[in-house]
């Protein structure tokens, strides 16, 4: 009962929870993924615009630098003096004047703050002839790419680490020509890259973790970063964004940054400077709102589930309580308390079921009462029958005994006064009285059997057969009787009753082989499936199979009393005993060819001594 209620309850509960949690999970998941996607798109486009802005700034800056250098190259003083320098001998006072004039211009440029140093390389020798930093003068730059390329057109080098300056730098160079257009040297300047970091680190609108930085073609970080302030030229970055940007692809992605922290990033290549620009923002910050939505959804879901669970419990209780009551009542009725009635009054199915139960109990009660009535009637009838058989036993025998007794006294004391016919008639009376006595005895034995309880135990059937034969031995001791007894299986039976069976069958066999020489009687038996089958076989007068069904009926006889004495009760008794044990009896025979009487008993494989 408990399990029914429990399972019903838990099923309802699970239903409730599923009904609330499933849509909640679906909606939550949808809201989360859509929101996340929207936020990522939003952040990406923001980063993109920031990156593009930075690129523009960088390009403006580079253009500006080029512009400044162009102005320098167009400076008349510089053009004139540079041409002088190619003509004059180094060390002469004129050379000195020209040098100083150029140096002064260079210093002015340097003081603008973008370059350091600014210098002029002799277009033929490749030696630095003038520099805003005098230490550089006389240094040899003939092999430098900026010198070679700068002789023909403006040139911007990649960012590199300068050994002589021991700092990162880039060089901008362009040809310096005199008025006639003849090349008088290459004008070059090292760019102060600090400005790059300051451009990149300008983070307005990028929030707590948003930033931009630059990487050169060797994946070397060339600007300071938010989380590694002095990492410029100290750190190589191989993040997915860095790789894709250097490969020339612009785009956005979710990847792990240099701190190995997940970020949303936008990346692009700045072609002019051969650099990768990366703008990125931590996912934790960018997605903070959606994550908080996620947590909120989780807690709301949890709360709703709890409410659903509670509702489910309340609801399932309201369903299972009547069911439980129903089960309890039904069980009470089932236990036999038919007076019990279910008190459910609801008009739903359960209430109707309860009503049906009550009606059923009522019907059963009526039936039980009927049965009780019948049982009482039956008992009364049985009692009457018992009283009847008791009085038959006692009262019927007394007068019989008197008839027999006084007839006997007549023959003993008064035989001489009777003639021969009188004596014969008397002896007929006596014989019939004795027969009647036997009939009464047999009938009583037979009817008593019905009232007798059988008490079973495992019985050694061979021992039982031996005893039965032993008891009947006096009846055939003067005849030639051959007995064959097989070993037969044991059986669970009422020993006294089976003894009765064996003596009956055996005495029949003795009786009906009268006149046979030798009389052969065979007793055997074997287990057959779940029953044991026993038989008693004789070579006696047998019987016509036509009458086989009459054999076991009480008072049915196939032979006249003149042929074979008997009351016709023995086999009926056998049949009744065997049937009481749950077995069957049957017989096979042929007139003058003998008979076989079989009986079966429920089998017991176990041998028992």
């Amino acid at each position: 009962m408990l399990s029914i209620q429990k399972s019903l309850k838990s099923k309802l509960l699970v239903c409730f929870l599923l009904l609330t949690i499933t849509p909640l999970c679906g909606i939550g998941y949808l809201a989360y993924t859509l929101g996340r996607r929207a936020i990522i798109a939003d952040v990406t486009s923001h980063l993109e615009s920031v990156a593009i802005l930075k690129e523009q700034q960088l390009n403006y800056w580079v253009e500006h630098l080029k512009h400044v250098m162009s102005i320098l190259s167009l400076n008349e003083q510089v053009q004139k003096q540079a041409a002088e320098l190619t003509r004059l001998t180094a060390g002469s006072s004129e050379y000195r004047v020209a040098h100083d004039a150029i140096a002064a211009e260079f210093s002015k440029i340097e003081s603008l703050g973008h370059f350091s140093p600014v210098f002029l390389v002799n277009s033929v020798s490749g030696v630095i002839v003038v520099s805003s930093n005098p230490d550089w003068e006389g240094k040899y730059r003939k092999a430098e790419e900026y010198f070679i390329k700068g002789k023909t057109q403006p040139y911007l080098s990649d960012v590199f680490h300068s050994l002589s300056m021991d700092q990162p730098t880039a060089v901008i160079a362009m040809p310096l020509k005199d008025r006639s257009g003849k090349l008088s040297g290459v004008l070059a300047a090292h760019i102060d890259l600090k400005i790059l970091s300051s451009i990149m680190q300008e983070r307005s609108g990028l929030g707590r973790t948003g930033e931009t930085y630059l990487i050169n073609k060797y994946n070397l970080l060339i600007t300071d970063t938010l989380f590694a302030p002095d990492a410029a030229f100290q750190k190589w970055i191989f993040s997915k964004g860095a790789k894709q940007a250097l490969a020339g692809t612009a785009g956005s992605a979710l990847f792990m940054d240099y701190r190995n922290i997940p970020v949303i990033g936008f990346f692009m290549k700045i072609k002019q400077m051969n650099l990768a620009l990366i703008a990125k923002k931590d996912q934790s910050e960018a997605l903070a709102s959606i994550d908080s939505l996620k947590y909120n959804l989780f807690w709301i879901g949890l709360g709703l589930s709890a409410i659903a669970g509670l509702l489910g419990i309340v609801f399932s209780r309201s369903i299972t309580r009547p069911v439980r009551e129903l089960v309890k009542g039904a069980e009470e009725i089932g236990r036999g308390n038919l007076q019990h009635r279910l008190t459910l009054t609801s008009r739903n199915e359960i209430g109707r079921l309860a009503t049906a139960f009550n009606e059923m109990a009522e019907k059963r009660l009526q039936v039980e009462e009927e049965i009780k009535k019948y049982a009482a009637r039956l008992e009364r009838a049985n009692k009457d029958l018992e009283a009847f058989s008791y009085s038959v036993s006692h009262d019927l025998r007394s007068p019989l005994r008197a008839i027999a007794g006084f007839a006997q006294i007549l023959t003993e004391d008064h035989a001489d006064r009777l003639d021969q016919e009188g004596n014969r008639v008397l002896s007929v009376i006596i014989a019939n009285v004795q027969k009647m006595g036997q009939l009464i005895d047999d009938l009583l034995t037979f009817s008593r059997l019905d009232r007798k309880e059988i008490k079973t135990a495992i019985v050694n059937m061979n021992k039982l057969i031996d005893e039965a034969m032993g008891q009947l031995q006096p009846a055939y001791k003067d005849r030639n009787v051959q007995l064959h007894v097989e070993t037969v299986p044991d059986a669970r039976v009422d020993r006294a009753m089976l003894y009765e069976v064996m003596t009956n069958l055996f005495s029949n066999a003795i009786k009906f082989t009268r006149g046979r020489n030798p009389a052969i009687i065979e007793i055997g038996g074997k287990a057959d499936g779940d029953e044991n089958i026993y038989y008693v076989k004789d070579n006696g007068v047998g019987f016509n199979m036509q009458y086989a069904d009459k054999l076991f009926k009480v008072f049915q006889r196939l032979h006249s009393p003149r042929q074979f004495e008997g009351t016709g009760v023995g086999l009926a008794l056998v049949e009744r005993i065997i049937r009481k044990h749950g077995g069957r009896v049957w017989a096979e025979g042929e007139e003058e060819e003998g008979a076989v009487f079989y009986f079966s008993l429920p089998g017991k494989e176990k041998k028992y001594e």
């Binding site: 008791y390 007394s398 005994r401 007794g405 009647m436 006595g437 036997q438 005895d441």
Partner: protein, 147 residues
């Protein structure tokens, strides 16, 4: 009947025919004068406990055996047996049920109440005669009574 103190067998039997046949048997053994016959349970008790019509009888002269029919007028055989066994003075008397009933319940109840023997009267006259003779012989001659 006159000398009540010589009585050794008390036969309690309501059927006069049975009484006659029984007496015929005792007669053959010359025991007839030692037999006293009563016809119902009440008389039997009166005789045994020397009350009523038998108040002059000496109660200490116990019969050597009581042959008791089961079905008796007034007080039945089982009740007589119960009363005999309930009284210290009479509880040792051998009692033999001599009856027509072969009902298990009667046999069991008789033994439960302490009967010494239970014999079903045969219908056969000769057998009945022999049975009664043997009973007389056994209880009077062979059996050793404790009193």
């Amino acid at each position: 009947m006159n000398n009540m103190n010589a009585i050794e067998i008390l036969l309690v039997e309501d059927s006069p025919e049975d009484v006659e046949i029984a007496l015929r048997a005792f007669n053959k053994q010359n025991l007839a004068n030692k037999v006293h016959v009563v016809e119902d349970g009440e008389d039997a008790l009166a005789y045994i406990f020397a009350t009523g019509a038998y108040h002059e009888r000496n109660i200490d002269n116990l019969p050597k055996v009581i042959l008791l029919d089961l079905k008796l007028p007034k007080v039945d055989g089982l009740e007589v047996l119960r009363r005999i066994r309930a009284d210290k003075r009479t509880q040792m008397i051998p009692v033999v049920m001599l009856t027509s009933s072969q009902e298990d319940q009667d046999i069991v109840e008789s033994y439960r109440l302490g009967v010494n023997s239970y014999i079903v009267k045969p219908v056969d006259f000769n057998k009945f005669l022999r049975t009664v003779e043997e009973l007389g012989l056994y209880w009077l001659l062979l059996n050793k009574a404790p009193f």
